[in-house]
Subunit: 203 residues, 2 copies
DNA sequence: CTTGCAATGTGGTCGGTGTAAACATACTAT
DNA sequence: ATAGTATGTTTACACCGACCACATTGCAAG
Protein backbone atom coordinates (compact mmCIF):
# COMPACT_ATOMS: atom_id res chain seq x y z
CA UNK A 1 0.00 0.00 0.00
CA UNK A 2 2.86 2.40 0.79
CA UNK A 3 4.93 2.22 -2.39
CA UNK A 4 3.03 2.23 -5.62
CA UNK A 5 4.52 1.59 -9.05
CA UNK A 6 8.22 1.85 -8.26
CA UNK A 7 8.96 -1.83 -8.17
CA UNK A 8 8.85 -4.26 -11.02
CA UNK A 9 6.36 -6.41 -9.18
CA UNK A 10 3.06 -4.92 -8.22
CA UNK A 11 2.71 -6.90 -5.04
CA UNK A 12 -1.00 -7.55 -4.97
CA UNK A 13 -2.10 -7.36 -8.55
CA UNK A 14 -4.80 -9.98 -8.29
CA UNK A 15 -6.73 -8.08 -5.68
CA UNK A 16 -6.05 -4.80 -7.42
CA UNK A 17 -7.43 -6.21 -10.65
CA UNK A 18 -10.63 -7.35 -8.97
CA UNK A 19 -11.06 -3.99 -7.29
CA UNK A 20 -10.46 -2.07 -10.49
CA UNK A 21 -12.80 -4.42 -12.32
CA UNK A 22 -15.54 -3.52 -9.86
CA UNK A 23 -14.99 0.11 -10.71
CA UNK A 24 -15.06 -0.51 -14.42
CA UNK A 25 -18.17 -2.61 -13.94
CA UNK A 26 -19.98 0.46 -12.67
CA UNK A 27 -18.64 2.84 -15.27
CA UNK A 28 -18.52 0.91 -18.52
CA UNK A 29 -20.82 -2.04 -17.90
CA UNK A 30 -20.12 -5.74 -17.61
CA UNK A 31 -19.91 -6.66 -21.26
CA UNK A 32 -17.40 -4.03 -22.20
CA UNK A 33 -14.91 -4.67 -19.44
CA UNK A 34 -11.47 -4.98 -20.98
CA UNK A 35 -8.48 -6.62 -19.41
CA UNK A 36 -6.29 -4.21 -21.28
CA UNK A 37 -8.08 -1.23 -19.79
CA UNK A 38 -7.76 -2.68 -16.31
CA UNK A 39 -4.06 -3.21 -16.82
CA UNK A 40 -3.69 0.28 -18.22
CA UNK A 41 -5.45 1.91 -15.29
CA UNK A 42 -3.29 -0.05 -12.89
CA UNK A 43 -0.12 1.02 -14.64
CA UNK A 44 0.77 -2.49 -15.60
CA UNK A 45 1.40 -4.26 -18.87
CA UNK A 46 -1.48 -5.73 -20.82
CA UNK A 47 -0.27 -9.28 -20.38
CA UNK A 48 0.10 -9.05 -16.62
CA UNK A 49 -3.51 -9.99 -15.77
CA UNK A 50 -2.99 -13.34 -17.44
CA UNK A 51 -0.57 -14.27 -14.68
CA UNK A 52 -3.49 -14.20 -12.26
CA UNK A 53 -6.47 -15.17 -14.38
CA UNK A 54 -6.20 -17.71 -17.14
CA UNK A 55 -8.97 -15.99 -18.98
CA UNK A 56 -11.17 -12.94 -19.02
CA UNK A 57 -14.06 -15.17 -18.06
CA UNK A 58 -12.21 -16.33 -14.99
CA UNK A 59 -11.72 -12.75 -13.87
CA UNK A 60 -15.42 -12.14 -14.29
CA UNK A 61 -16.23 -15.36 -12.49
CA UNK A 62 -14.14 -14.27 -9.55
CA UNK A 63 -16.01 -11.00 -9.58
CA UNK A 64 -19.31 -12.84 -9.61
CA UNK A 65 -18.18 -14.96 -6.69
CA UNK A 66 -17.49 -11.80 -4.73
CA UNK A 67 -20.97 -10.69 -5.66
CA UNK A 68 -22.59 -13.86 -4.37
CA UNK A 69 -20.73 -13.41 -1.15
CA UNK A 70 -22.01 -9.86 -0.83
CA UNK A 71 -25.54 -10.98 -1.60
CA UNK A 72 -25.31 -13.72 0.96
CA UNK A 73 -24.22 -11.27 3.63
CA UNK A 74 -26.95 -8.80 2.76
CA UNK A 75 -29.66 -11.42 2.87
CA UNK A 76 -28.34 -12.83 6.14
CA UNK A 77 -28.43 -9.38 7.65
CA UNK A 78 -31.96 -8.85 6.40
CA UNK A 79 -33.19 -12.07 7.92
CA UNK A 80 -32.19 -11.07 11.42
CA UNK A 81 -35.12 -10.19 13.60
CA UNK A 82 -37.83 -11.73 11.46
CA UNK A 83 -40.38 -13.71 13.38
CA UNK A 84 -42.50 -15.51 10.80
CA UNK A 85 -41.37 -17.37 7.72
CA UNK A 86 -43.43 -15.05 5.58
CA UNK A 87 -41.54 -12.12 7.02
CA UNK A 88 -38.28 -13.87 6.25
CA UNK A 89 -39.31 -14.49 2.69
CA UNK A 90 -40.26 -10.87 2.20
CA UNK A 91 -37.11 -9.63 3.88
CA UNK A 92 -34.94 -11.86 1.72
CA UNK A 93 -36.78 -10.69 -1.36
CA UNK A 94 -36.27 -7.07 -0.45
CA UNK A 95 -32.59 -7.62 0.21
CA UNK A 96 -32.27 -9.42 -3.10
CA UNK A 97 -33.87 -6.65 -5.09
CA UNK A 98 -32.02 -3.94 -3.19
CA UNK A 99 -28.78 -5.68 -3.95
CA UNK A 100 -29.64 -5.97 -7.61
CA UNK A 101 -30.47 -2.29 -7.78
CA UNK A 102 -27.38 -1.23 -5.93
CA UNK A 103 -25.01 -3.44 -7.88
CA UNK A 104 -26.92 -3.87 -11.08
CA UNK A 105 -23.97 -4.75 -13.27
CA UNK A 106 -22.58 -7.16 -10.76
CA UNK A 107 -26.01 -8.75 -10.53
CA UNK A 108 -26.21 -9.16 -14.27
CA UNK A 109 -22.82 -10.75 -14.21
CA UNK A 110 -23.87 -13.16 -11.49
CA UNK A 111 -27.06 -14.37 -13.12
CA UNK A 112 -26.57 -13.53 -16.74
CA UNK A 113 -25.16 -15.70 -19.48
CA UNK A 114 -21.76 -14.02 -19.54
CA UNK A 115 -20.41 -16.70 -17.28
CA UNK A 116 -21.74 -19.95 -18.70
CA UNK A 117 -23.16 -22.40 -16.21
CA UNK A 118 -20.77 -25.08 -17.40
CA UNK A 119 -17.88 -22.96 -16.18
CA UNK A 120 -17.25 -25.07 -13.13
CA UNK A 121 -15.42 -22.40 -11.28
CA UNK A 122 -15.78 -24.27 -8.04
CA UNK A 123 -16.01 -21.37 -5.62
CA UNK A 124 -18.59 -19.74 -7.81
CA UNK A 125 -21.16 -22.51 -8.15
CA UNK A 126 -20.76 -23.39 -4.49
CA UNK A 127 -21.41 -19.89 -3.25
CA UNK A 128 -24.14 -19.44 -5.83
CA UNK A 129 -26.10 -22.41 -4.61
CA UNK A 130 -26.04 -21.22 -1.03
CA UNK A 131 -28.53 -18.49 -1.87
CA UNK A 132 -31.02 -20.97 -3.25
CA UNK A 133 -30.56 -23.39 -0.36
CA UNK A 134 -31.30 -20.52 2.01
CA UNK A 135 -34.64 -19.95 0.30
CA UNK A 136 -35.46 -23.64 0.47
CA UNK A 137 -34.76 -23.70 4.16
CA UNK A 138 -37.04 -20.74 4.79
CA UNK A 139 -39.82 -22.41 2.86
CA UNK A 140 -39.35 -25.80 4.51
CA UNK A 141 -39.42 -24.11 7.89
CA UNK A 142 -42.61 -22.30 7.02
CA UNK A 143 -44.29 -25.48 5.86
CA UNK A 144 -43.45 -27.47 8.95
CA UNK A 145 -44.62 -24.55 11.07
CA UNK A 146 -47.97 -24.78 9.34
CA UNK A 147 -47.54 -21.27 8.02
CA UNK A 148 -47.30 -22.34 4.38
CA UNK A 149 -49.29 -24.92 2.45
CA UNK A 150 -48.20 -28.53 2.29
CA UNK A 151 -46.36 -28.81 -0.99
CA UNK A 152 -43.00 -29.71 -2.37
CA UNK A 153 -40.72 -27.02 -0.90
CA UNK A 154 -38.82 -26.88 -4.14
CA UNK A 155 -41.91 -25.70 -5.96
CA UNK A 156 -42.38 -22.82 -3.56
CA UNK A 157 -38.70 -22.00 -3.51
CA UNK A 158 -38.56 -21.99 -7.30
CA UNK A 159 -41.60 -19.74 -7.41
CA UNK A 160 -40.28 -17.30 -4.87
CA UNK A 161 -36.86 -17.22 -6.41
CA UNK A 162 -38.20 -16.76 -9.91
CA UNK A 163 -40.46 -13.95 -8.75
CA UNK A 164 -37.73 -12.07 -7.01
CA UNK A 165 -35.22 -12.64 -9.76
CA UNK A 166 -37.77 -11.53 -12.32
CA UNK A 167 -38.51 -8.37 -10.40
CA UNK A 168 -34.82 -7.63 -10.03
CA UNK A 169 -34.06 -8.30 -13.68
CA UNK A 170 -36.92 -6.28 -15.06
CA UNK A 171 -36.10 -3.46 -12.70
CA UNK A 172 -32.43 -3.13 -13.48
CA UNK A 173 -33.02 -3.54 -17.19
CA UNK A 174 -35.67 -0.87 -16.94
CA UNK A 175 -38.51 -2.90 -18.43
CA UNK A 176 -41.12 -1.51 -16.09
CA UNK A 177 -40.72 1.94 -17.55
CA UNK A 178 -43.56 1.37 -19.99
CA UNK A 179 -46.11 1.70 -17.22
CA UNK A 180 -45.01 5.19 -16.17
CA UNK A 181 -45.86 3.79 -12.75
CA UNK A 182 -42.45 4.24 -11.16
CA UNK A 183 -41.57 1.09 -9.32
CA UNK A 184 -41.15 2.06 -5.70
CA UNK A 185 -40.29 -0.07 -2.71
CA UNK A 186 -43.98 -0.02 -1.99
CA UNK A 187 -44.67 -1.64 -5.33
CA UNK A 188 -42.06 -4.21 -4.52
CA UNK A 189 -43.72 -5.06 -1.24
CA UNK A 190 -47.06 -5.49 -2.96
CA UNK A 191 -45.55 -7.87 -5.48
CA UNK A 192 -43.88 -9.83 -2.73
CA UNK A 193 -47.19 -9.96 -0.90
CA UNK A 194 -48.73 -11.65 -3.92
CA UNK A 195 -46.24 -14.49 -3.94
CA UNK A 196 -46.52 -14.92 -0.17
CA UNK A 197 -50.27 -15.07 -0.57
CA UNK A 198 -49.83 -17.81 -3.12
CA UNK A 199 -47.78 -19.87 -0.73
CA UNK A 200 -49.53 -19.21 2.54
CA UNK A 201 -51.86 -21.76 4.02
CA UNK A 202 -55.32 -20.25 3.67
CA UNK A 203 -56.53 -21.63 6.97
CA UNK B 1 -33.84 -14.76 -55.08
CA UNK B 2 -32.80 -16.44 -58.34
CA UNK B 3 -29.27 -15.13 -58.84
CA UNK B 4 -27.06 -15.12 -55.81
CA UNK B 5 -23.67 -13.40 -55.61
CA UNK B 6 -23.06 -12.64 -59.26
CA UNK B 7 -24.23 -9.07 -59.19
CA UNK B 8 -22.64 -6.18 -57.43
CA UNK B 9 -25.78 -5.57 -55.43
CA UNK B 10 -27.10 -8.24 -53.19
CA UNK B 11 -30.72 -7.35 -53.69
CA UNK B 12 -32.14 -8.00 -50.26
CA UNK B 13 -29.25 -7.64 -47.92
CA UNK B 14 -31.19 -6.23 -45.02
CA UNK B 15 -33.43 -9.23 -44.74
CA UNK B 16 -30.54 -11.57 -45.44
CA UNK B 17 -28.57 -9.98 -42.62
CA UNK B 18 -31.39 -10.43 -40.16
CA UNK B 19 -31.86 -14.03 -41.21
CA UNK B 20 -28.17 -14.81 -40.95
CA UNK B 21 -28.06 -13.04 -37.62
CA UNK B 22 -30.76 -15.37 -36.34
CA UNK B 23 -28.58 -18.29 -37.35
CA UNK B 24 -25.52 -16.87 -35.69
CA UNK B 25 -27.59 -16.15 -32.62
CA UNK B 26 -28.21 -19.84 -32.21
CA UNK B 27 -24.68 -20.93 -32.97
CA UNK B 28 -22.43 -18.36 -31.35
CA UNK B 29 -24.69 -16.59 -28.87
CA UNK B 30 -25.98 -13.06 -28.76
CA UNK B 31 -22.97 -11.32 -27.29
CA UNK B 32 -20.49 -12.63 -29.80
CA UNK B 33 -22.41 -11.83 -32.93
CA UNK B 34 -20.13 -10.03 -35.31
CA UNK B 35 -21.20 -7.87 -38.19
CA UNK B 36 -18.05 -8.87 -40.04
CA UNK B 37 -18.87 -12.53 -39.69
CA UNK B 38 -22.38 -11.93 -40.95
CA UNK B 39 -21.03 -10.07 -43.95
CA UNK B 40 -18.46 -12.80 -44.56
CA UNK B 41 -21.04 -15.56 -44.51
CA UNK B 42 -23.21 -13.61 -46.89
CA UNK B 43 -20.33 -13.11 -49.30
CA UNK B 44 -20.44 -9.37 -48.90
CA UNK B 45 -17.96 -6.76 -47.78
CA UNK B 46 -17.54 -5.95 -44.10
CA UNK B 47 -18.86 -2.45 -44.47
CA UNK B 48 -21.99 -3.41 -46.37
CA UNK B 49 -24.15 -3.97 -43.28
CA UNK B 50 -23.70 -0.33 -42.33
CA UNK B 51 -25.76 0.67 -45.34
CA UNK B 52 -28.74 -0.97 -43.64
CA UNK B 53 -28.06 -0.59 -39.94
CA UNK B 54 -26.41 2.47 -38.50
CA UNK B 55 -24.98 0.40 -35.74
CA UNK B 56 -24.51 -3.14 -34.50
CA UNK B 57 -26.98 -2.33 -31.75
CA UNK B 58 -29.58 -1.36 -34.31
CA UNK B 59 -29.19 -4.69 -36.03
CA UNK B 60 -29.70 -6.43 -32.72
CA UNK B 61 -32.65 -4.21 -31.92
CA UNK B 62 -34.29 -5.17 -35.19
CA UNK B 63 -33.69 -8.78 -34.27
CA UNK B 64 -35.28 -8.22 -30.88
CA UNK B 65 -38.27 -6.57 -32.52
CA UNK B 66 -38.74 -9.69 -34.63
CA UNK B 67 -38.57 -11.66 -31.42
CA UNK B 68 -41.28 -9.61 -29.74
CA UNK B 69 -43.44 -10.13 -32.73
CA UNK B 70 -42.92 -13.88 -32.55
CA UNK B 71 -43.63 -13.87 -28.84
CA UNK B 72 -46.78 -11.90 -29.39
CA UNK B 73 -48.02 -14.38 -31.95
CA UNK B 74 -47.22 -17.35 -29.75
CA UNK B 75 -49.01 -15.91 -26.76
CA UNK B 76 -52.00 -14.92 -28.86
CA UNK B 77 -52.23 -18.45 -30.17
CA UNK B 78 -51.96 -19.85 -26.66
CA UNK B 79 -54.80 -17.67 -25.39
CA UNK B 80 -57.30 -19.07 -27.86
CA UNK B 81 -59.80 -21.35 -26.28
CA UNK B 82 -59.20 -20.35 -22.68
CA UNK B 83 -62.35 -19.85 -20.68
CA UNK B 84 -61.27 -18.32 -17.39
CA UNK B 85 -58.80 -15.53 -16.79
CA UNK B 86 -56.72 -17.85 -14.66
CA UNK B 87 -56.47 -20.21 -17.59
CA UNK B 88 -55.41 -17.34 -19.79
CA UNK B 89 -52.75 -16.29 -17.36
CA UNK B 90 -51.34 -19.80 -17.17
CA UNK B 91 -51.52 -20.27 -20.92
CA UNK B 92 -49.69 -17.01 -21.52
CA UNK B 93 -47.09 -17.97 -18.97
CA UNK B 94 -46.53 -21.32 -20.62
CA UNK B 95 -46.22 -19.73 -24.02
CA UNK B 96 -43.78 -17.21 -22.63
CA UNK B 97 -41.53 -19.82 -21.09
CA UNK B 98 -41.77 -22.10 -24.10
CA UNK B 99 -40.72 -19.27 -26.30
CA UNK B 100 -37.80 -18.43 -24.06
CA UNK B 101 -36.64 -22.03 -24.11
CA UNK B 102 -37.02 -22.38 -27.83
CA UNK B 103 -35.34 -19.09 -28.68
CA UNK B 104 -33.18 -18.62 -25.64
CA UNK B 105 -30.64 -16.32 -27.23
CA UNK B 106 -33.29 -14.22 -28.87
CA UNK B 107 -35.04 -14.00 -25.53
CA UNK B 108 -31.88 -12.83 -23.81
CA UNK B 109 -31.48 -10.24 -26.48
CA UNK B 110 -35.05 -9.02 -26.04
CA UNK B 111 -34.92 -8.62 -22.28
CA UNK B 112 -31.25 -8.39 -21.52
CA UNK B 113 -29.10 -5.31 -21.21
CA UNK B 114 -27.51 -5.68 -24.64
CA UNK B 115 -30.03 -3.29 -26.06
CA UNK B 116 -30.23 -0.44 -23.57
CA UNK B 117 -33.70 0.75 -22.69
CA UNK B 118 -32.82 4.27 -23.72
CA UNK B 119 -32.35 3.06 -27.27
CA UNK B 120 -35.62 4.48 -28.50
CA UNK B 121 -35.85 2.22 -31.47
CA UNK B 122 -39.48 3.05 -31.94
CA UNK B 123 -40.73 -0.23 -33.37
CA UNK B 124 -38.99 -2.09 -30.61
CA UNK B 125 -40.41 -0.39 -27.55
CA UNK B 126 -43.83 -0.29 -29.11
CA UNK B 127 -43.97 -3.99 -29.82
CA UNK B 128 -42.32 -4.70 -26.50
CA UNK B 129 -45.00 -2.94 -24.53
CA UNK B 130 -47.76 -4.85 -26.24
CA UNK B 131 -46.82 -7.98 -24.33
CA UNK B 132 -47.17 -6.22 -21.00
CA UNK B 133 -50.42 -4.55 -21.95
CA UNK B 134 -51.79 -7.96 -22.86
CA UNK B 135 -51.06 -9.20 -19.36
CA UNK B 136 -52.70 -6.15 -17.83
CA UNK B 137 -55.81 -6.71 -19.87
CA UNK B 138 -56.06 -10.32 -18.75
CA UNK B 139 -55.71 -9.29 -15.14
CA UNK B 140 -58.18 -6.43 -15.42
CA UNK B 141 -60.65 -8.76 -17.02
CA UNK B 142 -60.20 -11.30 -14.25
CA UNK B 143 -60.74 -8.69 -11.58
CA UNK B 144 -63.92 -7.31 -13.04
CA UNK B 145 -65.17 -10.87 -13.49
CA UNK B 146 -64.67 -11.37 -9.76
CA UNK B 147 -62.19 -14.11 -10.47
CA UNK B 148 -59.23 -12.19 -9.05
CA UNK B 149 -58.98 -10.07 -5.94
CA UNK B 150 -59.72 -6.37 -6.01
CA UNK B 151 -56.34 -4.73 -6.32
CA UNK B 152 -54.42 -2.46 -8.61
CA UNK B 153 -54.17 -4.49 -11.82
CA UNK B 154 -50.64 -3.24 -12.33
CA UNK B 155 -49.54 -4.93 -9.14
CA UNK B 156 -50.86 -8.26 -10.31
CA UNK B 157 -49.53 -7.80 -13.80
CA UNK B 158 -46.11 -6.89 -12.47
CA UNK B 159 -46.12 -9.92 -10.25
CA UNK B 160 -47.18 -12.30 -12.96
CA UNK B 161 -44.77 -10.87 -15.45
CA UNK B 162 -41.88 -10.92 -13.03
CA UNK B 163 -42.64 -14.50 -12.09
CA UNK B 164 -42.76 -15.72 -15.64
CA UNK B 165 -39.75 -13.72 -16.70
CA UNK B 166 -37.83 -14.99 -13.71
CA UNK B 167 -38.71 -18.58 -14.51
CA UNK B 168 -37.71 -18.09 -18.12
CA UNK B 169 -34.43 -16.38 -17.26
CA UNK B 170 -33.36 -18.85 -14.64
CA UNK B 171 -34.29 -21.70 -16.94
CA UNK B 172 -32.39 -20.61 -19.99
CA UNK B 173 -29.38 -19.58 -17.96
CA UNK B 174 -29.47 -22.95 -16.29
CA UNK B 175 -29.68 -21.68 -12.74
CA UNK B 176 -32.08 -24.40 -11.61
CA UNK B 177 -29.47 -27.06 -12.21
CA UNK B 178 -28.35 -26.94 -8.60
CA UNK B 179 -31.48 -28.77 -7.50
CA UNK B 180 -30.89 -31.82 -9.69
CA UNK B 181 -34.68 -31.61 -9.93
CA UNK B 182 -34.93 -31.24 -13.68
CA UNK B 183 -37.39 -28.50 -14.43
CA UNK B 184 -40.20 -30.07 -16.41
CA UNK B 185 -43.33 -28.54 -17.82
CA UNK B 186 -45.05 -29.99 -14.80
CA UNK B 187 -42.79 -27.96 -12.52
CA UNK B 188 -43.62 -24.92 -14.57
CA UNK B 189 -47.34 -25.47 -14.12
CA UNK B 190 -46.91 -25.80 -10.39
CA UNK B 191 -45.00 -22.54 -10.22
CA UNK B 192 -47.64 -20.82 -12.31
CA UNK B 193 -50.30 -22.24 -10.02
CA UNK B 194 -48.62 -20.52 -7.09
CA UNK B 195 -48.84 -17.09 -8.66
CA UNK B 196 -52.43 -17.66 -9.74
CA UNK B 197 -53.23 -18.69 -6.21
CA UNK B 198 -51.73 -15.45 -4.99
CA UNK B 199 -53.97 -13.45 -7.26
CA UNK B 200 -57.20 -15.39 -7.11
CA UNK B 201 -60.09 -14.21 -4.98
CA UNK B 202 -60.28 -16.68 -2.12
CA UNK B 203 -64.02 -16.60 -1.97
C1' DC C 1 25.52 -15.54 1.69
C1' DT C 2 25.09 -17.44 -2.68
C1' DT C 3 22.62 -19.65 -6.15
C1' DG C 4 19.03 -21.29 -8.57
C1' DC C 5 14.13 -21.78 -9.41
C1' DA C 6 9.43 -20.41 -9.57
C1' DA C 7 6.42 -16.48 -9.62
C1' DT C 8 5.45 -12.35 -11.69
C1' DG C 9 5.68 -8.49 -15.12
C1' DT C 10 7.10 -6.77 -20.14
C1' DG C 11 7.11 -6.19 -25.18
C1' DG C 12 5.63 -7.66 -29.25
C1' DT C 13 2.56 -10.20 -32.20
C1' DC C 14 -1.52 -12.55 -34.32
C1' DG C 15 -6.12 -12.70 -35.49
C1' DG C 16 -10.29 -10.64 -34.56
C1' DT C 17 -13.74 -6.68 -33.94
C1' DG C 18 -16.66 -2.02 -34.71
C1' DT C 19 -16.88 1.79 -37.50
C1' DA C 20 -15.71 5.58 -40.39
C1' DA C 21 -14.21 7.91 -45.11
C1' DA C 22 -13.47 7.79 -49.88
C1' DC C 23 -14.60 5.44 -53.81
C1' DA C 24 -17.21 2.26 -57.25
C1' DT C 25 -21.31 0.36 -59.14
C1' DA C 26 -26.12 -0.31 -60.12
C1' DC C 27 -30.90 0.97 -60.09
C1' DT C 28 -34.57 4.68 -60.92
C1' DA C 29 -36.82 8.56 -62.24
C1' DT C 30 -36.75 12.17 -65.25
C1' DA D 1 -29.66 9.20 -72.03
C1' DT D 2 -28.51 11.09 -67.78
C1' DA D 3 -28.41 12.67 -63.11
C1' DG D 4 -29.03 11.25 -58.54
C1' DT D 5 -29.49 8.07 -55.03
C1' DA D 6 -29.10 3.64 -52.99
C1' DT D 7 -26.09 0.15 -52.31
C1' DG D 8 -21.58 -2.30 -51.99
C1' DT D 9 -16.14 -2.10 -51.76
C1' DT D 10 -11.56 -0.73 -50.17
C1' DT D 11 -8.86 0.88 -46.98
C1' DA D 12 -7.73 2.41 -42.59
C1' DC D 13 -7.82 3.31 -37.53
C1' DA D 14 -8.30 2.02 -32.91
C1' DC D 15 -9.40 -1.34 -29.87
C1' DC D 16 -9.63 -6.10 -27.97
C1' DG D 17 -8.35 -11.23 -26.14
C1' DA D 18 -4.80 -14.22 -26.14
C1' DC D 19 -0.36 -16.01 -26.68
C1' DC D 20 4.94 -16.17 -26.91
C1' DA D 21 9.73 -15.33 -25.59
C1' DC D 22 12.11 -12.74 -22.47
C1' DA D 23 13.24 -9.78 -18.17
C1' DT D 24 13.02 -9.16 -13.38
C1' DT D 25 12.17 -10.30 -8.79
C1' DG D 26 11.56 -12.82 -4.44
C1' DC D 27 12.28 -16.88 -1.91
C1' DA D 28 14.23 -21.03 -0.39
C1' DA D 29 17.67 -24.58 -0.37
C1' DG D 30 22.37 -25.24 -0.22
Amino acid sequence: MSNSQQSYHHGDLKRALLAEARNHLKTVGPEKISLRALARDLGVSQAAPYRHFTDKTHLLAALAAEGFSLLHDASKKALAGCDTSAQRLVAAGRAYVSFARQHSDLYRLMFGPTIPADCNYEALTEVGNRAFLAIISIVTEGISAGEFREEDPIVFANSAWAMVHGLASLLIDDRFSCTEHEFTMDELDKALAVIVEGIRANA
